[in-house]
């Protein structure tokens, strides 16, 4: 393929931008890619790609799965181009490939692991054809950006290359139907005896049969619409899992023993996962890597060495009081409902501090809070939740939402100045959750420090 001059010029400019950022001790994330694409919008068409590419997409879990796949491949000696520095749109992916290319645009590495934002499919897949493409799940996300699940499904279905081998979640009736003509391998988790299922979520993004519109009958729903469904009228049913978790036991130190059934055999793994969502992520990882060609022994050995980034879940203990910080991606009702469920599942008496205000959304206008009516705040209506403290300007909206969820008025406390929320906790509670939006990391730190001080001074 003949490369235009603007491609070479963009490549040089991109390389210079990476060098400059390095000199300034800044990470090269999206900026080099932005520079390159501004000069040559179809840059990715001309850049040589690594020989073997694994891409990971989906609403929730794609970062975790990407990191696990990369860690395990690295542990097994595969040197991979990757974008785990955080850029999962076209600019970040361009930066990742640019970093690992020569001045003539040749790929320096043979392997590549890319996390790909779902909406970026139209700008990525025309140029990058993943050999293996994992879709973790498709559930409701930010209305403003992602509209609804069908919209994202249609984008992926249109742009995923016909040649990609798909690794799909058989417990998700929506994403499991992506590109029905493509080669595919399914993963899933069978119903585990004694498992706490969550059939009472407000949102189920699919309720009717995709073939005949009749009601779906679920054998079980694990959360939202994730579960195993059959049609009440026609012969439609969930696909059979090729890699099916049939046993799962959580350990006290945040791990899980799982048994995966595949082709009549059973394989045991110890995985660094403290909840079901991450068991799905680990199973997607296992399935992708077995499809890639790693052996059970290679994956099993590597899992023992890796850990999941703890920034989404952190426990601090001060004078026998626990402060548990939980990241809940704001504007994403499914992620926030997971956080509410985690709080509900902890039997200890607790305070729940909520720091959900989205200053970026509020910057241009008033914050859009329609999404909070799809969050399962009803889960917090349990005896063990003693107080819910809402911090921020939208406290009035959250108060009303919590009342509609049936939370008794006397349990709800408001504080427009987020920095002061720690003052409102019930000090007798053993545990205090700090549930915070991704943009409120600074407020989470302030709150944690204030709580630590409070607990230290209490003794």
């Amino acid at each position: 393929m003949k490369k235009p001059i603007k491609f070479s010029f963009a490549l040089i400019c991109g390389k210079i931008t990476i060098k400059l950022l390095k000199l300034l001790k800044r990470n090269a994330t999206n900026l080099p890619g932005s520079v390159v694409l501004a000069i040559c919008p179809d840059f990715l068409k001309y850049l040589e790609k690594p020989e073997k590419i694994i891409a990971i997409t989906g609403t929730n879990g794609k970062t975790t799965v990407s990191n696990m796949i990369l860690d395990i491949l690295t542990d097994n000696g595969y040197d991979c181009t990757n974008n785990n520095f955080g850029g999962n749109v076209d600019t970040g992916i361009t930066t990742a490939l640019l970093k690992d290319s020569t001045l003539s645009g040749k790929a320096k590495k043979k392997y590549c692991v890319l996390e790909v934002d779902e909406r970026s499919a139209l700008r990525i897949y025309p140029y990058i054809k993943p050999d293996i493409l994992v879709c973790t799940n498709l559930t409701r996300d930010s209305y403003k950006r992602n509209a609804h699940v069908e919209y994202i499904f249609n984008i992926l279905n249109k742009y995923i290359p016909d040649s990609s081998h798909l690794v799909l979640n058989c417990d998700d009736i929506i994403s499991s139907r992506l590109k029905l003509q493509n080669k595919r391998t399914y993963f899933g988790i069978a119903k585990i005896p004694g498992e706490r299922l969550i059939p009472d979520n407000i949102i189920k993004d699919i309720n009717i049969c995709p073939i005949c519109n009749a009601h779906l009958k679920y054998d079980f729903i694990r959360y939202n619409h994730i579960g195993r469904a059959t049609c009440s009228k026609c012969d439609f049913k969930f696909p059979k899992a090729d890699f099916d978790v049939i046993e799962r036991t959580f350990t006290d130190d945040g791990k899980a023993h799982i048994t995966v059934a595949n082709e009549g055999n059973e394989y045991k793994y110890l995985i660094p996962c403290e909840n079901t969502i991450n068991v799905y992520n680990a199973t997607a990882t296992i399935t992708a890597l077995r499809t890639f060609g790693l052996t059970y022994e290679q994956i099993e050995a590597s899992f023992k060495k890796i850990s999941i980034v703890k920034s989404r879940f952190e426990i601090i203990e001060v004078n026998n009081k626990k402060i548990i910080s939980l990241l809940a991606k704001g504007q994403n009702p499914v992620a926030c409902s997971h956080a509410c469920n985690i709080v509900r599942d902890n039997p200890s008496e607790k305070n729940v501090i909520m720091l959900f205000d989205d200053m970026f959304d509020a910057k241009y206008a008033t914050e859009n809070t329609a999404w909070i009516y799809d969050v399962d705040f009803e889960f917090l209506n349990c005896d063990s939740v003693k107080r819910i403290i809402i911090g921020g300007e939208r406290a009035g909206d959250y108060t009303l939402r919590l009342l509609i969820a049936g939370i008794p008025q006397e349990k709800i406390f408001c504080c427009e100045h987020e920095e002061d929320v720690a003052e409102l906790i019930d000090a007798n509670c053993e545990t205090t959750y700090v549930v915070f939006d991704i943009y409120n990391e600074h407020l989470r730190r302030i709150t944690e420090n204030n709580l630590k001080e409070k607990f230290k001074n209490a003794c």
Binding site: Y143, A214, T366, T369, A370, Y373, E393, I404
Partner: protein, 236 residues
């Protein structure tokens, strides 16, 4: 009193369940009927005092058009008989003449209202809205792929102070005919607008209507209203 929720399995996209939950708390004695795609709607036999439908996907709209087409005359009859209809998000579009897709295809609607909607699937429209209905300020959010075209100057729902009307060039929001209210405002419209909800309750025959958690609802409403009036707002 019977309130019919049309197609909740499809029409639940942008916090619409909040409207229904809140309405149930405001009308504790009302019977709520949830009509699914396979059922005959209650309004067909005149058994609903209010019919609510929320936002749905584009393919959902087409399924609903197919389901409701046989009941076109009944819908018109109920609108003429002053039955209350509240259609939020893109749900009113099923009653238009047609919905035009990006490719120029025209999907026929029920043709009850002389309007059409035009989809632009790669252009998401998000905005906050402040408008006036009778003597009430209405606050809300829009999140949509469509614009509506047609003359609503004599049948609009509310005049717009901030945000857009039925399209970028319009300052008149939605459609009103008798007690039919159609608006692109989404999700928790009733929760966010306690005075409007009390107005709907009045139409339903409630004497001295009081919304649930009135004090808290008014606090949140007034704060939002004040913020929208004082902040230099930009759509995004």
């Amino acid at each position: 009193m019977r309130v019919e929720i049309l197609y909740p399995e499809l029409c639940n996209l942008f916090g619409d369940t909040g409207n229904v939950k809140y309405l149930k708390l405001c009308l504790p004695d009302a019977e709520f009927i949830y009509t699914s795609l396979c059922d005959t709607p209650a309004f067909v036999s005149g058994d609903a005092d209010m019919v609510y439908m929320g936002a749905c996907t584009e393919s959902g709209q087409e399924k609903i058009i197919k389901q409701l087409t046989p009941y076109k005359a009944k819908i018109e009859e109920q609108i003429n008989k002053n039955t209350i209809f509240l259609f939020t998000g893109n749900s009113m579009e099923v009653l238009f003449k047609y919905i035009e897709t990006d490719e120029g295809e025209k999907i026929s609607g029920l043709g009850i209202f002389d309007f059409y909607a035009k989809r632009q699937m790669m252009k998401r429209i998000n905005c906050v809205s402040l408008c006036r209905f009778q003597e009430m300020d209405i606050v809300g959010f829009k999140t949509q792929f469509t614009m509506t075209y047609g003359d609503n100057s004599d049948c609009f729902f509310a005049s717009v102070e901030h945000g857009i009307g039925i399209n970028n060039d319009s300052k008149l929001e939605g459609i009103r005919k008798n007690n039919f209210f159609g608006t692109n405002l989404v999700g928790p419209l009733l929760v966010m607008n306690p005075y409007f909800t009390e107005y709907i309750m009045t139409l339903l025959g409630v004497e001295k209507p009081q919304v649930a958690y009135r004090k808290e609802a008014l606090t949140a409403y007034n704060k939002r209203l004040n913020e929208m009036r004082t902040k230099n707002m930009k759509d995004h």
